[in-house]
Structures are given as C-alpha cells and as structure tokens.
Assembly symmetry: C2
Homo-oligomer: 295 residues x 2
C-alpha cells in the first residue's frame, strides 16, 4: 500500500508508532521525476527483511540549486511517480510511505539559517561548477535524517560524490542512519539514468549523450589492461584528459581519484573512480566508473 | 567531588550509567583559564535541583582561532582551574566531572571534515574580524553536545553573539540540550571578566580597558533616557559611532542591534543590544549591554 504525507508531523507520529512496535524502515530521498534508478533503491531496500517499510521522499530542495540552475523548471511528474511507487509497493508486498511536502517550511522552518558543509570535498568535481550545491545537499539530508530517523538510507552511486559526502557527514555528526549505496542503473544504451535525461532530444539521447559513458569506458580499459606503472597510468590519464578538455570542449571535467579518499591516486590506491561531467546541448550529465588499478 | 576525564569514552560510559539511573546533568563548555564568569555558570547550574551533577569541559578549540590569533599562547592554568572547580564542588555539594581531553582527536577524530555554520549571523560583529571563528565555535559545540548529550548547557552573555548562534544551531539541527544564558560577570571596576584580561597590564586593566564599558553605558543612558523617536535614537547612535570609530580608533566595532534578531533595530524592537570590541594594547576585549528602547 502507498500512503501519502504532505506534512512532517503526522508522518513522525506514524513512524513513532511503528518504532514502538519494534519495526525498522528504509529511506530513499529523491527530488521526484522517478526513473528505475530511484525505484531500484526502494526495491532493494524492501528486499532487506529488516526494513518493514520504506519512506520515500520527493522534495525539490531549493538550497542545492544555483541561481542560474533549473530549480524552477525541474521536471515534476508527481502523478506518474505515485503510480510507479504504488505498483512497486504491490510488487514488493510492503508499504511505501510517500513524503511529498506541501511547502519548504515542512523541511526548513521559517528562519532556518544553519548549514552543514563537508570541507574540501564539497569544492571538487561537481562542487567546482556548482557553488553551494553540496552544502544544500548535506543540509537537506541532515534535516531529513534527523526529522525521520530512518534505520537505513539508500542512495545511488551515479551521484558518487554526493553519497561520499553524506557518509562523511553522517560519521562526523554521529547521525544514526546507515547509508547504503547501490549501483548506477543505466538505460539499454548504457546512459546513466537521470531525471535530467528528459531534457535530451531523442537524437542526443541515443547519440552524443553516450560519449560520456564511452569515453570513461575507453579510459577504464586502457588503465586496467595495461601493464603500466602508476606513473605511466597517471600520465596516460592526463594525456586523455588534455585531449578531452579542450578550449571548446563540452566536458566540464574528467577526473581520476582514489575511490576511498576522493584524493589523487597514490601507490596505495586499489580502486580509483573516474568522474565525468558533460554538457549535452543545455543538459548537464554526470557519470562515474570504478577502475581497478591493482587487481 | 571532582572527577577528571581525559578521554571521551569512559566519560560517556559514566554518563550512560547516570542517565540509566534517571539522573540529569548540566554542561559548561570552556577553554579553561577559569574566572568567576565560568565558575558562576557551573554554580548556577548546580543550584537547579534537576541537575544532579555538572560536566565541565576545558578544551582550547583550534578551529575557532584564526591563523594569526593567540591559539598557541592561549593561557593555560589547569592546576589552578582544578583547585577552583574542586572548591566549587565542595561548596555546592554536587559532583563536577572535568572533561579535559588529552588531545584534539578526542573531539575531532582523524579525518573529521564537517563544519556547521549559522549563515549571515556568523559574519557580523566578531565574525567580521574573526573569519571562521563562529564556524569553529558552532562545530565544536555541536560535537560536544552530541558526544555528551547534556540536559542543559550554560553559557555566558558576555559572548552574546556566541550563545545566540548556538541557540539557533540547536534549534535548526534539532539537538536536545537546552541552552541557558546567564549574565556577564564583571570585575569591581565593571570590566567584563575574560581570560584575555590576564594579557592586560595593571594600568590598562584599571584604566584604558574600562572605556569599553563606560562608552557603552553612556550610550545606553542617552538612548534610554531620551524622549527621542526611533529615528532620532538611531541618528544619535550613529553620531556616537562615528565619533568612536575614527581612522586611528582602537575600537573594532560599536553596533546597536535588535536583541531578538541581531538585525537592525526597527519600530518593533523592544530591547536592543549594544556591542563593542576594543583593542587595549594588543588585547582584544568585547562587551555588550541591553538597552530598553520601548520601556
């Protein structure tokens, strides 16, 4: 069954009752416009027998958009989203509680002025182009976690930096929810699923948009298959990066970082992460991939 | 009795036992070099019968000092501090648990990277001169509150902006400790007590340092006694400010703000706060005073 809450207080009362009965639950925070990436998070969470039900939030968080970004045009498809969640709840035979706040005050009450940042890591990759983006993300996730107190929170690895920062924040601020990251879900073409894919024309979607995935895959193969030293691998990657990020390039970044630290790779790095951001027309696409450097 | 803890874990175990027994406790966070201002916070907290004992922390927090500030020279007088706390504990017939961490890692573990800011309000008054100061304060107080979970936390109104920001943070981040602010304690001369007063020469302490208090008192009387309109009061204050903050002035700021909002006063303002910061020799002194605008 799907139950809808537009206010936080009745949802908190409902959760308190369930907690009292000894139930545990999962949480999937989203901005709506649901695709299989979002749904798979809820589905996987409900496969875990410890989670009696799933709280699924749809809230387009103004704090994580820049002044020139697409906050006011962010695609809203609430009716379709409810149909999808409803059918997922039937499939999994467990309840989904949809938290779809009426207004921002449900999450950020009048006068709210505190913000939470993960220093350093908020300023690399997407944080370079999107000033204050991650501050908005960590602040809204803090509020959701402290308001709802879920046992387990599920996030997609497509937003690798996001889940990394949130895990760091949860550890540093001693929050009690476990953060569980699940693999990126892709379209048949291998394009990483994203609500922003809806901005693409059919031609872009089957063509140019794929260069993000294809470039990263090519670099991954080059770095994994070679018998090169670390120094040579770094130099190979830097050549690739220079070719890719020319003066008129549509790439915003292409980076190779240690998956565990999000710092430069070293001789100790076992797995690295390649990160890319690409402007396809006016649509900003991101993706990432794991590279096994020392198999 | 005074009990000393240099590690957080044994203190947390001790507190968990007491909580289990249904006891409640107060918390006084300090940087040591104790004077009657600090001691009065512990004393008042122990007068409250709900507080069975007081946790008193002494931790010189590196995050709240700027690179050119006095972190490395901040006066440490731990032996004298322990004697004072011990005698206070006897006087009040209640236990004081002194948390005096061995090293920074007890509060900020290796790799800690998250910070908490109260937007806007961290950048005014002392936040203007002391970049990142309040970010350091709110972050350390968050950690202490979440590690210790005190029922009531006591702070002095000498640091008005500090207790204001912490109350805001506690509200926004839904922390459970009640923040209780108590009046500034003054020397006989009316100089506000501060660990930094020890930097003053005897001549400065009885002479020049008093101009902070005396100026604010004069302005307070002028604003409270007059039958002037709000506009005239603001203009009177601005004249006073202009006279005080000349090009070679030792004043860092002199400000008049609404006590409830820390914004400019309006026709709705009932009580205002006058804030001053003054460089006496190399010693930075701050003070503030309540002004009843519409008695």
């Amino acid at each position: 069954m799907i139950q809808q809450f537009s206010h936080i207080a009745p949802l908190q009362n409902y959760l308190a009752e369930k907690i009292n009965e000894g139930q545990e639950f999962s949480f999937v925070p989203t901005m709506g416009n649901l695709h299989e990436g979002h749904l798979s998070l809820a589905r996987e969470s409900l496969k875990d027998s410890r989670n009696s039900f799933c709280v699924f939030s749809i809230f387009v968080n103004p704090k994580q958009f820049g002044p020139k970004e697409d906050f006011h045009n962010y695609p809203s498809t609430i009716e379709e989203d409810i149909v999808k969640l409803s059918s997922l709840s039937k499939e999994m035979k467990k309840d989904i509680l949809l938290f779809y706040p009426d207004n921002q005050q449900e999450i950020f009450p009048e006068g709210f002025a505190t913000s939470i940042t993960v220093d350093g890591l908020s300023k690399i990759l997407c944080g370079k182009q999107r000033k204050n983006h991650f501050k908005g993300v960590t602040t809204v996730v803090y509020r959701l976690l402290i308001l709802l107190k879920p046992h387990r929170t599920y996030m997609g690895l497509k937003d690798f930096q996001q889940q990394f920062l949130i895990k760091k924040m949860v550890k540093d601020l001693l929050l009690s929810s476990e953060i569980i990251s699940l693999p990126t879900i892709r379209e048949k073409s291998n394009l990483a699923m994203s609500s922003r894919n809806n901005y693409l024309t059919p031609q872009e979607r089957e063509g140019e948009a794929l260069c993000l995935y294809n470039t990263m895959l090519r670099v991954k193969h080059a770095l994994e298959n070679s018998s090169l030293s670390l120094k040579e691998k770094i130099s190979l990657f830097n050549d690739e990066k220079e070719k890719t990020l020319g003066p008129h390039s549509k790439w915003q970044y292409l980076e190779l970082l240690d998956s565990e630290t999000l710092k430069n790779i070293t001789s100790k790095t076992k797995t690295a992460q390649i990160f890319g951001a690409y402007l396809c027309g006016k649509t900003r696409l991101i993706d990432n991939m794991t590279i096994y450097l020392n198999p």
